[in-house]
Symmetry: C2
Subunit: 462 residues, 2 copies
């Protein structure tokens, strides 16, 4: 596999341009306005997989956006790697905070990416990281270095909860049969500190609606005499955390796994500078659950965050109105053992119970997923670790991530195989934010590292 | 003046159509998009005043929208009535809750308005009520029944705080000299229960901005570890009321006038059905300051209401983001003796003081005005009372209103004259709300009653 570096060097510009073409399509799954773009992206993925060397590629319809499936089975007796990724992206707003249009990719140098980074929505999450696998396959097939069987399953609803993927997986267990699942949809600590994500948080995402009077009211004539839905909503949300930032929902922590001091000490070894962290976010102080460090708060502890809130007059100037309704989108990050459907129920019960009778409350679950922890002694993890050692010259650090890939635990449950999370992005790549980007170096390093995973995974399986 | 009813009958359709033409112009002073419409409305008012019998009409430029001034001085020795009104309107949103477009007026019958009501933004507040005075003047001049001098001052910035009117009044004290100020920008209890507003609440309107991280963040990677500006904003707003719904801002109540039991008993005599009140708003229960009745809460007590709140992702679907900023528009209704500028300062100090150091807070004052109480033994009040007795056949009830007309106390201070608030709208007319309307009967009843005010005010001054 010594010729991989020269192959990448030779095809670098094409690899970049192919990704840039994909990034130009606004495949925003959360907003139905972009339906045709999402579908167009699925078609593009199909074509790219065919060109890269998949013998069979299908666009599998679902109740929502289709799943692109591809495979190259070279020998039934060899192990099979199932690659998962997604071709949909987050909405780009707030659009005015982008330095360049989110769907007009540009390559710019940054402090952390001296060789340049591709700026576009989806550059890192997940079009860029997903496409590394397509190009890695191209290299292996073009050079007869594909050591095992490969399957691709690229979905278009990851950013909205993967509801239909779950059904697809349940109904296609034979087709998706594999020995390991490989995903690049996470990050690593730094370009010189490779890491493998061994834990993910679960997610419960709900929307709440508080209704007061049956119409907007003049705040002068009614102010003080009727419940203002916005004031009530703020009271209700505020009460969801106590003075130590513990979540007050009854039973919320019942199943939370508490790490041993030894495990926490191991975690604390990961290089981290609180000063740099605060500097990067321009904040005076961090804020979170009493008794836990920043890295613990955003990985091994569950959280509750308001992701959006709105109600009343939000335009220019002033309007003295009491709104009839107020809304919020609230998500809870969960840790292993917390069941997302159970937590969603607990939230709903609790939120309804704390509403004063002067308002009506509606809680609508959006989606969710379970947390996940992968063992570091599995063949898959060992193969990934060796691959990083080969291309980075360093042993990667196992790392818990605060993010969620809800379907990972579903894969284990339905397909009975472990998932390896080889992420090549950085936390500073601003995924889900304006000016999302992905380092050119990281993109190419991923393409270089992935084939070694196939090599070592196949060898270790003998 | 016996021929007033026949005159109104004869010109009813024209009176309605002229108002409808005015209502078609979207004179939204809060939104600069409508600048030309606001200016167009000022021109229209000028023309109408000239036709109605003003000898001099001027469009007086200000730093903002112009003030339309008109006068008819028939004899310097006779008393002078100064009519104040405004030609600007509130923004119409939420637009989707209107049954018909806000600037395409339609007349429809309602339970409370069997003779029909004009549905349009500004129908009642204040184009409809302001235009009653123009038509009343038309009647008096056309029939040589104008008993005294009259001046009109119609502004275009009432819905955004009248900042430039204040300056105009200060600089034109001689021009605006008068014996009484007459305003129709309030309501009455019911069509068979005429009332005169004797008290108004003051107002302090501020906008707050809470900033956390310098960019939107992925709630999975950062959730739990950094202060979420929306969560913090809800905590801060929630803390502005205690468990008895007392406002917690230090010093907020220091100057609040406490009414005697006798005064409260007098107020309690106004006909009021809590059941009908709740039914009309479709609420299970009212909500407010412990120890006060609904009518006290919305009139003699100060309040704090969030008029708008926004932050994060508010679009379709779900976005797992921690917003960089969260915003709210907050208004406080004040009672006589509370100084709005002092209260604004107290709010700003307090709000900044309760912000955790993990966020930055900005408080921007929008506008405000003082509260006001008018004595019921003045000549002006007596003239108004007699006018209602003449046309309604009943003595009107003096009533405290929760609303604010910030400039009323300024008038008293600068022009040294009392204001009489003859309102003909109903609380159910949905001013500041979707489907604002004004009863045809109320519109014509106002036109019929106003000339009697002129008559009795002139007589009582002899």
């Amino acid at each position: 596999m010594q010729n991989i570096q020269s192959y990448i060097k030779e095809h670098k510009d094409r690899f970049l341009n192919e990704l840039i073409e994909l990034l130009k399509i606004p495949s925003i799954s959360a907003d139905s306005t972009y339906k045709n773009d999402v579908l167009k992206t699925a078609e593009a993925i199909k074509t790219r997989l065919e060109k890269a060397g998949c013998e069979i590629v299908e666009i599998c319809e679902t109740a929502g956006y289709p799943i692109v499936y591809g495979e190259n089975i070279i020998d039934p007796n060899l192990p099979t790697v199932l690659v998962y990724g997604h071709y949909d992206v987050q909405p780009p707003d707030p659009i005015n905070l982008w330095d360049s249009p989110p769907f007009e990719p540009v390559i710019k140098k940054t402090e952390l990416h001296p060789e340049g980074a591709i700026f576009a929505r989806g550059a890192c999450d997940d079009k860029g990281q997903m496409y590394m696998h397509v190009k890695a396959l191209e290299f292996m097939t073009a050079n007869n270095e594909l050591p095992c069987n490969v399957k691709f399953m690229i979905e278009g609803e990851e950013e909205v909860g993967s509801a239909n993927l779950a059904t697809f997986v349940k109904n296609n267990q034979e087709k998706l049969k594999n020995d390991v699942i490989l995903i690049s949809d996470t990050g690593m600590i730094a370009n010189d500190v490779p890491s493998i994500t061994t834990g993910l948080r679960g997610l419960s995402y709900v929307e709440v609606e508080v209704t007061g009077p049956n119409r907007d009211l003049h705040s002068g004539l009614y102010g003080g005499a009727v419940a203002n839905p916005i004031n009530i909503l703020t009271k209700m949300i505020a009460s969801l955390h106590d003075e130590n930032n513990y979540i007050t929902i009854l039973g919320f922590y019942d199943k939370v796994e508490n790490l041993s001091d030894a495990e926490r000490a191991e975690m604390a070894k990961a290089p981290f500078s609180l000063e740099n962290y605060k500097k990067a976010l321009n904040i005076e102080a961090v804020y979170g659950e009493t008794g836990y460090s920043t890295n613990e708060r955003n990985s091994i502890r569950p959280t509750l965050d308001v992701n959006g809130i709105w109600g009343g007059y939000t335009g220019e100037g002033a309007k003295t109105v009491i709104a009839s309704k107020a809304y919020a989108k609230i998500s809870m990050r969960l840790v292993p053992n917390q069941d997302w459907e159970e937590i969603t129920e607990l939230f709903q019960k609790h939120f309804e119970s704390i509403a004063p009778n002067a308002v009506k409350v509606k809680v609508t679950p959006h989606h969710g997923g379970q947390g996940y922890v992968t063992p570091i002694n599995s063949i898959g993890y060992q193969a990934a670790s060796k691959a990083y050692q080969q291309t980075f010259g360093k042993t990667p650090i196992p790392q818990r991530s605060g993010g969620s890939i809800p379907i990972v635990s579903l894969f284990e449950q339905e397909l009975k195989s472990k998932t390896i999370l080889m992420g090549f992005g950085l936390d500073s790549d601003a995924i889900h934010s304006p000016n999302e980007h992905f380092g050119v170096w990281n993109y190419l390093k991923g393409i270089e590292t992935i084939p070694y995973f196939y090599k070592y995974f196949t060898e270790l399986n003998n």
